[in-house]
């Protein structure tokens, strides 16, 4: 029962979407299934939040390695949740002044806005910006012209790196018009729109075939790995 019901739901949902895609008269079924999916996606936020609390509470209670980070994660999660859901410090909507919670959760100057503006925004921006440091270090340590493939990769990387900035234009500006195809900025376009596109299309078609095959296995109940390892 524990496995049969999810299997049935999966098969039903999947086949309804396939039928709705190929048979115009059944298009409405697909829309209903998609709406159900969106409702479930909203509920998944609650499930995700509950799971996050469970995992980190366990880590804290077990005092396992890095439990202090779990405490910080939980504190940040709960503070943001309470401030956001409770609309702490937010003024009521002028249209409905009698309802205390009618105000907008992103009201400028509110505690939730403050958390976003001065905690979330700089932290996420910093995380992404760190990539530049790691990429430069990795480029120095790992990029070696060891064989023909690596040399081709290096050459392409140089053309793209130069062609995506004004350096590319500057370095090859002297080339005459009849050789304009060799200008770095034009070579970049050729690499991206010919070699990259051809390679990516091949990979995408391969992936699509793989996804179709895996999906059929899931819908037919052959592949049940997504249900976990629980027994009936």
């Amino acid at each position: 029962m524990k496995r049969s019901v999810p299997l049935l739901i999966t098969a039903l949902g999947g086949f309804i979407l396939i039928i709705a895609y190929f048979i115009p008269a059944a298009q409405g079924w697909g829309e209903v299934a998609a709406i159900w999916f969106d409702i479930l996606a909203s509920i998944a936020f609650i499930l995700g939040g509950g799971n996050l609390i469970k995992i980190h509470l366990k880590k804290i209670s077990d005092k396992s390695a890095g439990w202090a980070y779990s405490a910080i994660t939980l504190a940040a999660f709960l503070i943001t949740l309470i401030v956001g859901l409770g609309k702490v410090g937010i003024n009521p909507n002028p249209k409905y002044p009698e309802y205390a919670l009618s105000g907008h959760y992103r009201e400028i100057g509110s505690p939730f806005w403050w958390l976003y503006e001065y905690a979330f925004k700089p932290l996420t921006a910093t995380m992404f910006a760190m990539l530049a440091f790691y990429i430069s270090s990795a480029a120095f340590r790992a990029f070696r012209a060891k064989n023909l493939e690596a040399i081709l990769l290096l050459g392409t990387a140089f053309i793209i790196l130069l062609g995506r900035t004004f350096t590319g234009v500057y370095l090859t500006a002297w080339l005459p018009d009849w050789m304009s195809g060799l200008k770095l900025e034009n070579l970049t376009v050729v690499i991206m729109s010919v070699f990259n596109t051809a390679g990516n299309r091949g990979i995408m078609i391969g992936i699509a075939l793989g996804v179709a095959s895996t999906s059929l296995k899931v819908l037919l109940g052959v592949d049940r790995s997504y249900l976990g390892s629980g027994d009936d």
């Binding site: 936020f45 120095f140 900025e185 991206m192």
Partner: protein
């Protein structure tokens, strides 16, 4: 010197990268000068798609990114909103990412509130906010907006918003502008938007550098134009500024061009590091062979 480079501590590389980004930022901020841009065919296609719109045409702008990628995509968002505002089209903002609404707020405050104060909320632009479900949202709204959007971002009934009167689904928009930092984003809009409805839904997009190569296969039939990373933003910014910027454009509309400076120096540093590392590699290999 060779020994120092051979065992170069990564903290030196971090310091070099830090300097290669901060010094150009400082110099460009001080002098106000930036490198010239030559728009590519794809940027021109994006610009032309917006140019082809008539006054009052409905345009859906989906801001599917967060502050992490604001550095690349923020200037694009500013340029898109500016261009749409100049063209006097009706702007419908939405987001598939939870913090997308904050990105929309930023763009509206930066462009509409400060430079186009005559535009009226609900008549000229509306913020529909965030909906969870990723591609599930797209699948529903391509045929019926009201199944998911019953109110706008501030909770007003969608049927009381004048500019929503003629909108039933995404197919009613003359153009879909997507700014994407990953999943869910341009790929999903193409797969569930323009692919099933090629004659009804036209998409142009701006995306991060890492995403751009993955989106090229969809050009030009499923994706009419693409701005890749800050370079694409700078090219598009130039096209918008050349046409609508006037003699002394506001610096906020030149942000992408300014950010190309640090990118140039950082790229040169990476090339230099790769050359240096390969020089060391070949010297070491020669030593090993001779021993």
């Amino acid at each position: 010197m060779y020994e120092f480079l051979k065992d170069l501590d990564k903290r030196w590389i971090f310091l070099l990268m830090f300097l290669s980004v901060t010094i150009p930022i400082y110099i460009i901020a001080k002098t106000g000068k930036s490198f010239p841009e030559v728009p590519s065919v794809l940027s021109e296609a994006v610009f032309q798609a917006v140019e082809d719109l008539d006054e009052g045409d409905p345009v859906l702008l989906s801001f599917d990114f967060d502050p992490a990628s604001e550095g690349e995509l923020g200037p694009m968002a500013t340029a898109f909103v500016r261009h749409c505002a100049e063209k006097k089209v009706k702007m419908y903002f939405m987001a598939l990412w939870p913090v997308g609404p904050q990105m929309i707020d930023d763009a509206i405050a930066k462009v509409i509130h400060s430079d186009f104060p005559t535009l009226v909320y609900g008549e000229d632009y509306v913020n529909l906010g965030f909906k969870p479900g990723n591609e599930g949202v797209i699948k529903v709204i391509v045929t019926d907006m009201r199944e998911l959007y019953t109110t706008d971002d501030i909770g007003d009934n969608i049927d009381e918003i004048p500019m929503m009167k003629d909108i039933e689904s995404v197919q009613d928009f003359d153009l879909l502008i997507n700014i994407s930092a990953g999943y869910a984003g341009t790929k999903e809009w193409v797969q569930y938007g323009s692919t099933p409805y090629p004659d009804k839904i036209k998409i142009v997009a701006g995306c991060t550098g890492v995403q751009a190569p993955l989106l090229y296969p969809y050009i030009p039939n499923q994706l009419s134009g693409l701005l890749g990373a800050i370079k694409g933003a700078a090219e598009y910014e130039k096209l918008v500024i050349d046409k609508y910027g006037g003699d002394d454009p506001d610096p906020k509309y030149l942000e992408a061009k300014r950010r190309m400076g640090p990118q140039l120096v950082a790229h040169l540093l990476i090339i230099l590091l790769i050359i240096l590392a390969n020089y060391i590699y070949f010297v070491e290999r020669r030593k090993e062979v001779s021993v």
